[in-house]
């Protein structure tokens, strides 16, 4: 019912996909067969490719052929990227004997369990199916209701009160960059606003999914763990869309590395030794699999050159981090510094790299992304917000550097304040799972996120005051979410 709410005509697709993969999974459990497995994976990928990439591929073919071919628009079925990956994992594990549970109703519930269906986490059968066999899970538990409800409210608050308003600042900048150059301050404002919009949006969906799951007695895996606190890109991908990283690592990266390692060993070529490897081994065993895996990640996120560049950029960043760590190991330097300044610098650098990649992710095409980047680089001139001119010596400093002071259509002090406040929130406060660390939330959160270590190291307690405060927060959020008020119209006052 949840799946059909948006488009009823997509229901046969998910039903067909479930029936096909359940049947194939059963066959592979009974008798593993490489050809059958490959055919199953190919069928899943083909369905995903048809719905997600046909328009893009036809466009490319048209460009190559010098024509403007077009196909009637294909509407992307809800959640196809998520349930396709889940079922590919199930097929592979069935073939390898890692999947044993094969109850049809449980399988259907595993795929269609609505809290995680549209935005993840990408669940793994090993962590979900056993929960369905546990009758204890289907009795209401006050602790799960309490923490699930709290997470749901936190997620809704992040989405409605924090993420969406950032979108009203980011969208005009990216829209403007499609057609005209944008100023440096405006471009930075738009890029940072989007970085925070997506952060809080995805964090919100992950919280809501896990919270809703708990209300139904099901624990979902952690999917988002303060990624902007990451010290490098490897750390970042261990915190951002954790279940996607887990899938890509287990089913794409690791098999490639294993195959390439075996081939090099068979050829008598050196592989990794004591965590170190030579440049050629590094290129073959680290750089190639990493870049390819992130290329797949980019393609999975969307159809378009900008998504491919997004993936390749992340591949490049990851290779640089791996190479840097190899260099440090080879020279006997500790891989992770304990200096607070170096940690802060590495967190900032990682955040900036992620923001640059997100510009491609947000842009409707590569040209727009390059336009925003050109603006951020100052290539379109530097106009600083007029109120800054009132700051002592600002005018002189601006003049010396060739900057101007003037009004900026796409940047205002409200945005500056919001960016400052929420970057401070992101970097200094514990996340929801750290706050709730003494109680049931996501699967294995304690090992992953630990107790609060941020500046404000509070822990959630089920007290009356906390309940009233979270309840009041839920009222503000729901009133805002269901409000009919249009976006504020800052028309001249007459």
């Amino acid at each position: 019912m949840f799946y059909g709410w948006w488009r009823l005509d997509n229901v046969p697709l998910i039903v067909g996909s479930i029936l096909f993969n359940y049947a194939l999974g059963g066959m592979l459990m009974r008798k593993p067969h490489r050809g059958l497995l490959a055919a199953g994976i190919a069928a899943n990928v083909a369905a995903l490719a048809y719905f997600k990439y046909t328009n893009f591929l036809v466009e490319i073919a048209g460009e190559v052929a010098g024509t403007s071919w077009a196909v009637s628009s294909i509407v992307l079925p809800l959640a196809i990227s998520f349930f396709t990956f889940q079922q590919i994992a199930y097929l592979i594990d069935s073939s390898q004997g890692a999947a044993t549970e094969h109850d049809f109703i449980h399988y259907c519930l595993f795929i269609t369990f609505f809290p995680h269906l549209i935005a993840g986490p990408i669940t793994h059968h090993r962590e979900i199916l056993p929960q369905f066999q546990d009758p204890d899970r289907f009795h209401p538990r006050w602790d799960m209701v309490a923490t699930g409800g709290t997470l749901l409210v936190i997620g809704l608050f992040k989405k409605v009160i924090v993420a969406d308003p950032f979108g009203t600042y980011a969208t005009p900048v990216f829209e403007a960059a499609r057609h005209a150059p944008v100023q440096m301050v405006e471009a930075w404002g738009g890029a940072l606003a989007y970085a925070l919009q997506l952060y809080f949006d995805f964090s919100a969906y992950s919280d809501m999914a896990i919270g809703l799951g708990l209300l139904f007695g099901v624990s979902l895996p952690l999917n988002f763990n303060s990624p902007y606190k990451a010290r490098n890109m490897i750390d970042y991908w261990g915190r951002w869309h954790i279940t996607l990283t887990r899938f890509l690592t287990a089913y794409i990266y690791n098999p490639i590395v294993t195959a390439l390692t075996r081939r090099r060993m068979a050829q008598g070529l050196p592989v990794m030794s004591r965590g170190l490897m030579g440049p050629r081994a590094f290129a073959t065993l680290v750089a190639v699999p990493t870049v390819f895996t992130m290329f797949v990640s980019g393609v999975w996120h969307g159809a378009g050159w900008q998504f491919i560049i997004f993936g390749l950029l992340h591949g490049f960043f990851l290779v640089v981090v791996h190479a840097w760590r190899q260099y440090k190991k080879a020279h006997g330097v500790p891989v992770d510094s304990s200096s607070k300044w170096q940690v802060a610098l590495s967190v900032l650098l990682t955040f900036l790299c992620a923001t640059v990649a997100l510009i491609f992710f947000r842009s409707p095409n590569v040209g727009t992304a390059l336009g925003v980047l050109a603006g951020m680089s100052g290539l379109n001139g530097v106009t600083l917000p007029a109120p800054l001119a009132a700051v002592p010596f600002a005018q002189q400093a601006g003049n010396a550097l060739g900057f101007h002071f003037g009004s900026l259509e796409l940047f205002d002090l409200n945005l500056a304040a919001r960016l400052f406040i929420f970057l401070a929130v992101v970097w200094t406060l514990p996340n929801a799972y750290q706050w709730l660390c003494d109680h049931p939330t996501a699967l294995t959160p304690n090992e992953t996120v630990g107790a609060p270590t941020a500046l404000v190291a509070t822990r959630w307690r089920p007290t009356l005051v906390t309940g009233l405060a979270v309840g009041a927060l839920s009222a503000v959020t729901l009133l805002t979410a269901f409000s009919s008020a249009p976006t504020e119209f800052l028309y001249f006052q007459f």
Binding site: D134, D136, R137, H139, P140, R141, W142, D143, M144, V145, A146, G149, T150, V153, P165, G217, S219, C437, D438, H439, P440, T441, A442, L443, T444, P445, N446, E447, P462, T463, L464, T466, G467, L468, A469, V470, G471, A472, L473, S474, A475, V476, L478, L479, T480, S483, S484, A485, P486, T487, E488, F489, L490, Y491, F492, Q493, F494
Partner: protein, 324 residues
């Protein structure tokens, strides 16, 4: 599986968890109660902003005025954007012609298509209307085909203005905490003064007198005229003719500085006149121009200082009488 996620039976967490869940609902109810109390307190203090139907303070404030001062027994309905709201001087009109019972329903930010919607709404509610005066500026002739026909939900606004439901309902339905808080700031003063650009003072006829000392320095720019806007005049004329209501479309004067910059040869003005006359042809509606005013009469491209509105209003009424 961590300790935290181990299933432990229905009473896991015991009474404290049950109490917490109850507090969640209690907190939500408490907030709604406190917000209602705060709104009532603000109303008593005279600083309650209007419900955010359009989330534009000057427009929402006018709707709130209309609720408190419903148009009854009026025979002249003045319609348009802020141009109509700020420029028509109803007291002057009444002193010139005591038979007039005007009501200024100009709503800021409205293009002519949206104003047409307001005409349709109000004449259905106010049967005493005999004449509709639509005052336009060039900027009102933009964006009719791209913008929504109404910047607010007409059904809700109709119930708000003419219905008897508590207005608290609309604060919850149109809840926007940020704007609500921001609108409170300075509201008391803006409702009293006529010299601030943010003035929200409205006289008993619905006019919005504004006479600031300086100029806003805003010339707005060259309007991108929309064909759909001109078509709207024909639609309104047809609607009013069926109801036997007289329609007068008046082009308000523009700041000479605007004319020099954007219409030096008057070709745009001539074209606007021609197209409006074409749209009204075949109806009994008339199109008039109220004459020019000096630059000092304006505080931006279109809006006339209140001290010059008697002159404008008298000229307008004279042309209306001549045309009848």
């Amino acid at each position: 599986m961590s300790k935290a996620t181990e299933p432990r039976g229905p009473d896991a967490g015991g009474g404290s968890m049950r109490q917490y869940v109850a507090a969640l609902f209690g907190g939500a109810l408490l907030f709604v109660t406190l917000l209602s109390g705060l709104l009532l307190l603000l109303e008593r203090s005279g600083v309650l902003p209007p419900p955010q139907f359009a989330n534009s303070l000057c427009l929402d404030e006018k709707l709130s005025f209309m609720r408190e001062n419903q148009p009854r027994n009026v025979n002249l309905l003045v319609i348009g954007s802020s141009e109509a709201w700020r420029s028509f001087n109803s007291p002057e009109a009444v002193s010139s012609d005591p038979s007039l019972r005007p009501y200024n329903a100009g709503l800021c930010g409205k293009n002519i298509a949206q104003s047409a919607q307001v005409v349709s709404w109000l004449i259905s509610r106010v049967p005493s209307v005999q004449s509709v005066l639509v005052i336009i500026a060039p900027g009102d002739l933009e964006g009719c085909s791209t913008s929504s026909h109404s910047s607010f939900n007409l059904q809700d606004v109709d119930q708000f203005v003419f219905g008897k439901r508590s207005k608290l309902i609309y604060y919850f339905k149109y809840f926007d905490a940020n704007t609500l808080v921001r609108n409170i700031i300075g509201l008391s003063q803006y409702r009293r003064v006529t010299t601030s650009f943010n003035s929200l003072y409205i006289n008993k006829f619905g006019d919005g007198p504004l006479d600031p000392t300086g100029s806003r320095g805003l010339l707005y720019g060259d309007p991108d005229l929309d064909d759909q806007c001109f078509a709207e005049f024909g639609r309104v004329a047809h609607l009013l003719r069926r109801r036997n209501i007289r329609l007068v479309v008046a082009e308000a004067p523009t700041n000479p500085a605007w004319k020099i910059r954007y219409d030096p040869t008057s070709s745009k003005s001539t074209m606007i006149n021609q197209r409006i006359n074409d749209a009204l042809r075949g109806s009994k509606a008339v199109f008039i121009k109220a004459g020019d005013l000096p630059e000092k009469a304006f505080f931006d491209a279109y809006h006339i200082r209140w001290s010059y509105t008697p002159q404008f209003t008298r000229a307008l009424l004279k042309k209306m009488n001549q045309a009848s």
